[in-house]
């Protein structure tokens, strides 16, 4: 059953409580949120395999800490969309502000427009696919997971990267500390093809470059002081 929640009438607290309430979700697995009006914290903390469509723009931390749910924002979204997501899928039809997918541990974040600075900051296992461009310092201290960028990347990509893998089709303004371009081997082409397919994006994996950690900063060395 599809349930429509009018944020302008029924409020944010009521929406989130309903999306957390197992009894409510027994009968309503599909949700449509109208009059989002850029509100913060929409659909955060969902812990069930439901679907939520937000008709309009969302503010900060939309779908934060999502688990299992499929959330689609039919508009732009603010800072920290899908922050610390554990699983499930979050799709942004428009653009995303900074820190999209920050510290997310799992799941798939798709941004059909552009993402601002620090996309995937401290990512810990999430997959992020951006159809457009990403801003500066994206994937900063990225620990695990994969990021695909079909457009260009801003300055300082992958600064202080750990084990996250980055695929960029367009230009990279500059690489951050300890981030290097790496060979695209067969397993990477296959992995990238799967990520693009799961996001529903038609691109040639062979046109991407892979970036990862040089692993030179994994142990503190005083000779690297200028890199820290």
């Amino acid at each position: 059953m599809m349930k429509t929640h009018d944020l302008a009438v029924d409020g944010l607290r009521e929406l989130n409580q309903a999306l957390h309430d197992a009894d409510t979700l027994k009968d309503a697995r599909e949700w449509r949120v109208v009059n989002s009006d850029g509100a913060h914290n929409i659909a955060c903390g969902i812990n069930d395999a439901i679907s939520v469509d937000i008709d309009g723009h969302a503010g900060y931390y939309c779908a934060g800490m999502n688990q299992k749910a499929s959330v689609t924002i039919h508009g732009n979204t603010g800072v920290g969309v899908a922050e610390n997501m554990m699983s499930g899928c979050v799709r942004v039809k428009g653009d995303a502000s900074q820190s999209a997918g920050a510290t997310a541990h799992g799941g798939l974040l798709i941004i059909e427009g552009n993402a601002s600075a620090r996309c995937g900051i401290s990512m810990k296992g999430v997959d992020i696919v951006v159809k457009g461009n990403i801003g500066a310092m994206s994937a900063f201290m990225g620990q695990a997971g994969r990021m695909v960028v079909c457009g260009d990347a801003g300055e300082g990509l992958g600064d202080s990267l750990y084990e996250a893998r980055l695929y960029v089709k367009g230009t990279v303004a500059s690489l951050g500390a300890d981030c290097i371009a790496k060979d695209m081997r067969a397993e990477h082409l296959e992995e990238l093809a799967e990520l693009l397919a799961s996001a529903g994006i038609d691109e040639d994996p062979a046109s991407f470059t892979r970036y990862g950690s040089a692993r030179q900063l994994y142990h503190f060395k005083v000779d690297n002081a200028s890199a820290y």
């Binding site: 989130n16 620090r118 750990y162 005083v222």
Partner: protein, 446 residues
């Protein structure tokens, strides 16, 4: 740690430099040999104005004391009454500060939970996430929401009795952490989603917000995720305390955790520990003033940490405006850290019982600040938890004794009026009169 001059005949020609003392000379020599700054654990070792510089004015004629051991002096504190549906109730105003699994062994974390639970107070997770042992043994567990977000997940958020958003630490305000690779066991690495054995940096700032306005939205998000059930604490390192407290309260904090410069750490630069932040005693009046001006003193509770050692420190912190205190270093000592029973092993590590601060090495003979399985096994969590519980009881009893002497039937009835300072510096920082005078420096004449 022998003092050579102690074993030599008096020689007036041996005149130590006040500027280049032996500790300074040693540090210059060490830096020249290694080319790297000193990283260590524990808190500040330099002497700074402290609670010892304050005295209570026990009752005589103008005040009426309560009978020790007979008349009641209550100690219960309720934390998070502002917004949370389920505030945290603790039986004593002494809690356990956040310390990470990773910095500490699983046995030490379990012991902290056992000790705190035995007397009905809370303990706190740390950088690295929540372990099942810790949750299982802690009747009241505060879950830290840290910049690194290591191991952060909504399931654990919902298991917590309170959430503490960490913005700073008294030992290193503005700084992050560095857990060196030798302490990164398979389990620690797994919890932090990082490879085993590599140095793990904990960021100094949160990745998805950049200022107090963002913090307000972040706190609202945490409340939404947890359905407004549990209190949200905000922890700050003591620096620009007055402004930081006001901003944190405005952002929606239920509880402020204020960590002074004497607060401990697992590992950071010595120069940071000793030269950044302000003393705990100096920070409390600033925080209290901020809360009072907002009309929220005792409604937004204030937990103070950083060098709390005994019941007098507890009572003095409360008299200056705190609702509760948190202990870290002292709790580890109660568990068995730096105990003389391991004197020989401390010596082998180039240290001594009572001086050991190389927590970053992971070789703690007491099995506390280590991930070495053999060393960790030395700490019996049950026995260590008992020692901690005993210590917490003593802190509470001592604070009650002092409060009764001041005629107070609840620890929270203590107030600055009950205190005087032994020196001008303490009087100015604590904002209480210099002993024997009515003079509070900075607040007018006699």
């Amino acid at each position: 740690m022998t003092d050579e001059t102690q074993t030599q005949p008096y020689n007036p020609a041996l005149r130590e430099s006040a500027t280049f003392g032996r500790d300074v000379i040693h540090e210059i020599q060490r830096a020249a040999e290694t080319g790297i700054y000193d990283i260590r654990g524990w808190g500040a070792k330099r002497k700074v104005p402290h609670f010892d510089d304050l005295l209570f004015l026990g009752a005589s004629m103008s005040r009426y004391p309560l009978e020790g051991y007979r008349e009641k002096c209550e100690t219960e504190v309720v934390l998070g009454t502002r917004h949370a549906k389920k505030p945290v109730v603790i039986s004593t105003p002494v809690t356990i500060a956040g310390m990470s699994f990773g910095a500490l062994s699983a046995q030490a974390k379990e012991a902290l939970g056992r000790g705190a639970s035995e007397i009905g107070t809370s303990t706190t997770t740390g950088d690295g996430g929540m372990t099942p042992e810790e949750r299982g043994q802690s009747s009241r567990l505060v879950y830290q929401y840290l910049p690194s977000r290591y191991g952060m997940n909504p399931d654990d958020l919902r298991k917590a009795d309170a959430i503490e958003v960490v913005l700073g630490q008294g030992a290193k305000p503005g700084g992050g952490g560095m857990l060196l690779g030798q302490k990164i066991s398979e389990r620690v690495a797994g919890m932090r989603t990082l490879p085993q054995g590599i140095d793990q940096r904990s960021a100094c700032r949160h990745p998805d917000w950049t200022g107090p306005d963002d913090l307000a939205i972040k706190i609202a998000e945490l409340r939404e995720i947890t359905d407004w059930q549990v209190p949200i604490y905000v922890k700050i390192g003591a620096t620009r305390t007055y402004y930081d407290v006001k901003l944190a309260v405005k952002a929606g904090a239920d509880v402020i955790v204020l960590d002074g410069m004497q607060g401990g750490t697992a590992a950071t630069q010595d120069v940071f520990i000793e030269h950044v932040g302000i003393p705990t005693m100096a920070a409390i009046p600033q925080a209290t003033q901020a809360l009072q001006e907002m009309g929220l003193h005792r409604e937004v509770q204030l937990i103070v940490s950083g060098g709390i050692r005994n019941g007098a420190d507890v009572a003095k912190a409360i008299a200056l405006g705190a609702d509760a205190v948190a202990i870290g270093t002292a709790a580890l000592i109660a568990l068995g850290d730096n105990h003389p029973r391991y004197a020989d092993e401390y010596q082998k590590l180039g240290s001594a019982a009572g001086f050991y601060d190389d927590f970053q090495d992971g070789k703690c003979p007491a099995g506390i600040s280590t991930q070495d399985p053999e060393l960790s096994q030395r700490l019996d969590p049950i026995a260590a938890g008992k020692r901690l519980a005993n210590y917490l009881r003593v802190l509470t009893l001592e604070a009650q004794t002092l409060a009764r002497a001041c005629g107070k039937s609840h620890l929270h009835h203590l107030e600055p009026e009950d205190l005087v300072a032994l020196n001008v510096e303490a009087a100015a920082m604590a904002r209480v009169p210099l002993a024997g005078t009515n003079w509070v420096p900075g607040q007018g004449g006699y």
